[in-house]
């Protein structure tokens, strides 16, 4: 499926056609107070500075009940479900978390006009749908591609040495096999590392999952029996383990999360970094990063099946079933994801979910002479269109993940063989899936 946004910048001149439908009706929700729970954090906050505009347009007030990171917000929402305190209307959500929450969120089909939904990427809408219900409206998307330190690949001595050792030309990796070779080739611990990976929590489960798929494996078969302890699963774990054993990654990676890998690449001591687009402007900012001006970017590598890894998710907004004014809530989430709002987020490097915004943002970057961000958007657009897939949209995803990642760590550290570790995790995962009623 080829998306129109790939067709270059021809439509760049088009003005934003979309305005929230509520714009015309000032004071539509006069005196109403909309209670919301939003994800907080530096990348997310600029959008919330726009909220007063919506208040002005509609006459409503927005009361932000909490602004926390997603793991904290997740805990809070679970408590709300438990205590029956869902006395708010709009909540930030995420495609990976959404299936856990059962029926607390409304189906947005019908609540939000079809023509508005039509402006979103088809895939983004599809991934936001759980059990046939569109429980969330995507705000921005997330997928990883491979950043690399360009100068390393232009150095003739590196090229010669690499060719001599591995028998093929040194170019940015196209497969995970090459990725591994090159990471080991560049590494010189503890001053320089070939790459880094996130080593705990859902983060490493996600990486494992996308590589498993790229290597031709699957987490579950069609009857929800765990199948990740397959030969492909073992091969995938070995990729992590070989990098670890070769000291091509810092020994601390198993405690790393996204901030560690991002800051590591920015410190100039890492050759390759598979990461999301949100870092792009940070990496290329000389005030923050030592690799500014020296960054290349290619699509995420292919696995042995020839498929690229493409673990993808989206930050979203949902409306509760208990909301007392769903029109106001719908108007609010429509506003926060409209064209102009997504442009604001795109400028920070967040990937839009509206087709039009991709082109407009790219045109703006090009006009400002920011070739790097143009490359970033081109690369990410392509991977969003061709490679993206979500984790299984099941309510037990986090629980299964909590069985998988300690097993991966145990295998990487050599406490168990990859086969043993995966077998045990698969057995635990089976119990979880049985308890949840997926396996009869």
């Amino acid at each position: 499926m080829k998306s129109p946004r790939l067709k270059s910048l021809t439509c760049a001149a088009l003005l934003p056609l979309l305005m929230p439908s509520t714009a015309a009706l000032a004071s539509e929700f006069d005196g109403y107070t909309l209670r919301v729970k939003l994800i907080g954090g530096a990348q997310y906050e600029p959008l919330y500075a726009e909220i007063p505009k919506w208040e002005e347009m509609t006459g409503a007030k927005v009361e932000v009940l909490s602004r926390k990171n997603h793991f904290e917000l997740d805990r809070e929402i679970k408590q709300d479900i438990a205590a029956g305190t869902l006395d708010w209307c709009v909540g930030s959500n995420h495609t990976s978390f959404a299936p856990q929450y059962g029926d607390i969120y409304v189906d947005l089909n019908g609540v939000i006009a079809g023509d508005v939904l039509g402006k979103f990427d088809e895939l983004a809408i599809k991934n936001s749908t759980v059990g046939g219900k569109l429980v969330q409206l995507p705000r921005h998307a997330d997928i990883s591609n491979l950043y690399y330190k360009k100068s390393l690949y232009e150095d003739q001595a590196n090229k010669d040495a690499f060719k001599a050792k591995y028998g093929y030309d040194l170019t940015p990796p196209d497969t995970f096999e090459q990725f591994k070779d090159q990471a080991i080739f560049f590494a010189d611990a503890p001053t320089f590392y070939g790459t880094q990976y996130v080593g705990k929590d859902e983060a490493i489960t996600g990486r494992f999952y996308e590589m498993l798929v790229a290597n031709g494996g699957a987490l579950f078969d069609e009857d929800w029996n765990p199948t990740f302890n397959s030969e492909a699963g073992v091969r995938t774990v070995m990729w992590f383990k070989e990098l670890y054993d070769a000291k091509a990654v810092p020994a601390g990676v198993l405690n790393y999360l996204w901030d560690d890998t991002g800051l590591g690449f920015a410190s100039g001591t890492v050759a390759l970094n598979l990461d999301w687009a949100g870092w792009a402007s940070f990496f290329n900012d000389p005030a923050n990063s030592k690799v500014a001006g020296d960054i290349g970017l290619v699509r995420a590598p292919k696995g042995t099946s020839g498929k690229r890894s493409g673990w993808s998710g989206a930050h979203t907004f949902s409306i509760t079933e208990t909301c007392d004014n769903k029109e106001a809530a719908a108007s609010f989430v429509t506003f926060l994801t409209d064209h102009d709002r997504q442009m604001i987020e795109a400028r920070a490097g967040l990937l839009p979910t509206r087709t039009q915004v991709w082109d407009d943002a790219k045109a703006e970057f090009a006009a400002a002479g920011n070739d790097f961000l143009v490359t970033v958007f081109d690369t990410y657009a392509q991977s969003m269109a061709e490679d993206a897939f979500t984790p299984p949209l099941i309510d037990t995803w986090i629980e299964v993940s909590n069985e998988i990642w300690p097993a991966l760590q145990a295998a990487i550290l050599g406490e168990k063989t990859p086969q043993e570790a995966l077998d045990e995790a698969a057995e635990e995962a089976r119990i979880i899936m049985e308890d949840a009623g997926y396996i009869q």
Partner: protein, 285 residues
Amino acid sequence: MSGPLKRRIVAVATWIGTFLLMLVICLPGLWVMLTGFRPNREVLAKPAIWIPEQFNLNNFAKIFGFGAEQIAIPVPAYFTNSLVIALTSTAIALIIGMSGGYAFARFRFPFKDSIFLGLMLSRTVPGIALSLPVFMIWSRIGLIDTKLGMIIVYTALNIPFTIWLIDGFFRQVPKEMSEAAQVDGCTRWQAFWKVEFPLAKSGIASAGIFAFLTSWNEYALASQLTRSTDSKTLPVGLMDFTAQFTIDWAGMSAMAVIIIIPALILTFLVQKHLIAGLTFGGVKG
């Protein structure tokens, strides 16, 4: 004639030595406070930058909303909440603790030891096990995200320790003194306020500082029971610096400075009473 001089030199040397040792012990904490005045880029650099190239108040400016990039963190609200919650719960815990400590120090009653142990054990319940049930009860009676709700929880948290400390201090006040006062015509109540309370005052002050520090720094329960600027405390506010993928460590350190300084000043001020309270036992010995 060099005797006193020599002794003084030894004393000064001991002081300096101890001071340096304390600094080494405090080093991890001092590093946090220094980080608050430096930019992330320098703090997280590799190779390390040991001599700060930039040392300024930018992080604080950002927190208070003078910077361009970050939305202000509502520090004044957090600060007020923390202060109100910590002070009120400390005061209540002290009153309840005095009453309970007095009961244990001055009366004999059935099951005294078991009751005492039972009170102490109420503190062993990990916050993580309490947080959900407390949350559910609090939400039923509208205490979620209120200062009152936090005050009640912290009072409960501090009661066992407060009773214990105050019990110890009352016990050091000779019973005969209060009895003498009663013989002189005071009621027991008057005897308490005129004789026992003044003598145990310092002990109460030290129990107070422990209770205050516990409430001021508590995170696990506050993170569950507070939601908005109506009740969020400073330690919970630290999490405002963590986002999905990043931690603004320099910003968090600056916030830490804001949390630590008042507690440090208060401790220094109460220190005199702490000394008095602690030396009281020596008077008795």
